[in-house]
């Protein structure tokens, strides 16, 4: 059976989604239950801890960028609330993470 969310490294503050999760689905993080506010796709990140604006996002035990706003446990962590500390990312519509 597939785990819904996996921790890749003990120091991580995000979990990785290993199966498609639907909005309002119940997920369990550190023994606490949370309700997902939105659908989360395979390979996307969910906050494992509450993360303050400016705090680093840790995956694989290393920083992969920083939060652009406060993020609650169980929230989707992506281009809307974090940015690169190196080079801005872009989507087909726009660049993100630029000042």
């Amino acid at each position: 059976m597939t785990a819904k969310l996996v921790t890749l490294h003990a120091n991580d503050n995000v979990l990785i989604c290993c199966q498609q999760l639907e909005a309002s689905e119940q997920i369990s993080i550190n023994g606490q239950d949370y309700e997902l506010l939105e659908a989360i796709d395979l390979g996307h990140k969910v906050a494992k801890a509450s993360i303050n604006k400016g705090e680093q996002i840790i995956r694989y035990g290393v920083p992969i960028g920083s939060a652009t706003q406060n993020i609650n446990v169980g929230e989707h962590v992506h281009i809307h609330n974090m940015k690169s500390d190196y080079i801005p990312s872009h989507t087909r519509q726009s660049r993100v993470g630029e000042q």
């Binding site: 395979l42 995956r59 694989y60 992506h78 690169s84 500390d85 190196y86 990312s89 872009h90």
Partner: protein, 403 residues
């Protein structure tokens, strides 16, 4: 395992004849020679530009004398800047049969195609006379790239390739990973894996160069599909990409077209030297695959999360799919399903062993999926490396069409 022994001592796992156009103006003629010859071992490569470029000349020399190549037909328009004489000389010196056709002297399209088909068939026949000899895993050079990465790549396909790389290096093979723009953020952990402290410094400089270059270009090595697949930042993508290199010591840095000086694990520095001149370092995945081949790779391990279908001329491509949904959607194009790791069915080590076993099978002649489907993509563009420049300081410039 059997291989085709070449005069420089390297052995090929394929024995193909390449038809190479030396400017876009000769593309159609070269392509038609390939289609009329109609043999999977006669393949198209080429360079579209009319202006001379030391990097692309060096790349074409390396590609035309790759151990998987048994003979060459060069197709020139006649007035382009590409140094066809120098390329032909290098191929001849390697002991391979080569013919050069100059369309302006050969009577135009129809006549050049006819002559090209005759030459291609004759060279193929002569190349096929070569009896393969015994070859061992230690003689293999294997490259890896990723394309269409997503949030699953760094936890399934890429670390599985890393396991395969570690096994290959244990057996004394040579492995190459690349795309320094996709190592931005990993430079310090990579430095710790350098064989010597001096190499560690060079690894740092290499990634620093990439960061500067991509910052000037205005985009990192990050496509919209990466974000749709759950990757948010360059450094997150980098950490996943870096996993392809495994855990072995890093023994050196090479530039595209340069052969590793010894066995072991090498980083290819794909980012040009100096200020950005010709645009993005590699405009698409096949540009990376071609550089791997030019540095001697017998085959390339291509990991993908979002999905890719490409193969390559000259050397087979093995595709490893990171994402189980993508695998189900594109299974005819995928050689290995690493999505099984995401679904908890297999371990990274098990998939790494599967990749290793397939490397051996494809080296023994089994067709990879992209080979069987006829994928033979090829792209080569302009670049500048200081060390290419040194070899060809006297190249005279002859500008495009109007001249």
């Amino acid at each position: 395992m059997k291989g085709y022994l070449r005069s420089d001592g390297r052995k090929g796992i394929r024995n193909v004849v390449v038809i190479a156009y030396l400017v876009e103006c000769a593309h159609h003629v070269a392509k038609t020679i390939v289609s009329h010859t109609n043999d999977p071992d006669v393949q198209l490569i080429g360079f579209p530009g009319c202006y001379p470029n030391d990097y692309s000349l060096q790349m074409m020399k390396s590609l035309c004398t790759h151990p998987n190549v048994g003979g060459v037909v060069l197709v020139s328009l006649g007035c382009e800047g590409f140094n066809r004489e120098d390329l032909e000389k290098t191929i001849k010196e390697s002991g391979r049969p080569v013919e050069t056709l100059v369309i302006q002297k050969a009577g135009g399209t129809t006549s050049t195609i006819e002559q090209g088909v005759t030459h291609a068939k004759a060279i193929l026949e002569s190349a096929q006379q070569l009896e393969p000899v015994n070859m061992s895993i230690s003689e293999l050079v294997i490259g890896t790239i990723c394309g269409g990465s997503d949030g699953t790549s760094g936890i399934s396909a890429n670390p599985a390739v890393g396991v395969c790389f570690d096994r290959l290096i244990e057996q004394d093979a040579t492995c190459i990973f690349e795309e320094t723009g996709e190592l931005i953020g990993c430079e310090h952990i990579m430095e710790e894996r350098a064989e010597t402290p001096e190499l560690g410094q060079k690894l740092l400089q290499c990634v620093e160069k990439a960061e500067k270059y991509y910052t000037k270009m205005g985009y990192g090595s990050f496509a919209p599909g990466n974000a749709e697949g759950g990757l948010t930042t360059q450094e997150e993508k980098s950490m996943g990409a870096y996993a392809k290199s495994g855990a072995s010591l890093i023994n050196g840095i090479i530039i595209p077209g340069e052969l590793p000086s010894k066995k072991g694990l090498f980083l290819m520095d794909v980012v040009p030297d100096g200020e950005p001149t010709f645009g993005f370092p590699n405009i698409s995945d096949n540009a990376e695959i071609v550089e791997m081949i030019a540095s001697g790779c017998h085959l390339t391990l291509f990991t993908t999360g979002r999905g890719s279908v490409v193969g390559s001329a000259i050397s087979p491509v093995i595709k490893i799919c990171a994402n189980p949904h993508t695998y189900r959607n594109l299974s005819d194009d995928m050689d290995i399903n690493a999505g099984t790791v995401i679904e908890g069915i297999k371990s990274v080590e098990e998939v790494g062993q599967e990749i290793f076993d397939l490397v051996v099978e494809v080296s023994r002649g089994k067709e990879s999926k992209s080979e069987a489907l006829g994928h033979k993509e090829f792209i080569l563009t302009y670049k500048h490396f200081d060390s290419n420049q040194a070899n060809n300081a006297n190249t005279e410039f002859s500008p495009a069409c109007g001249a």
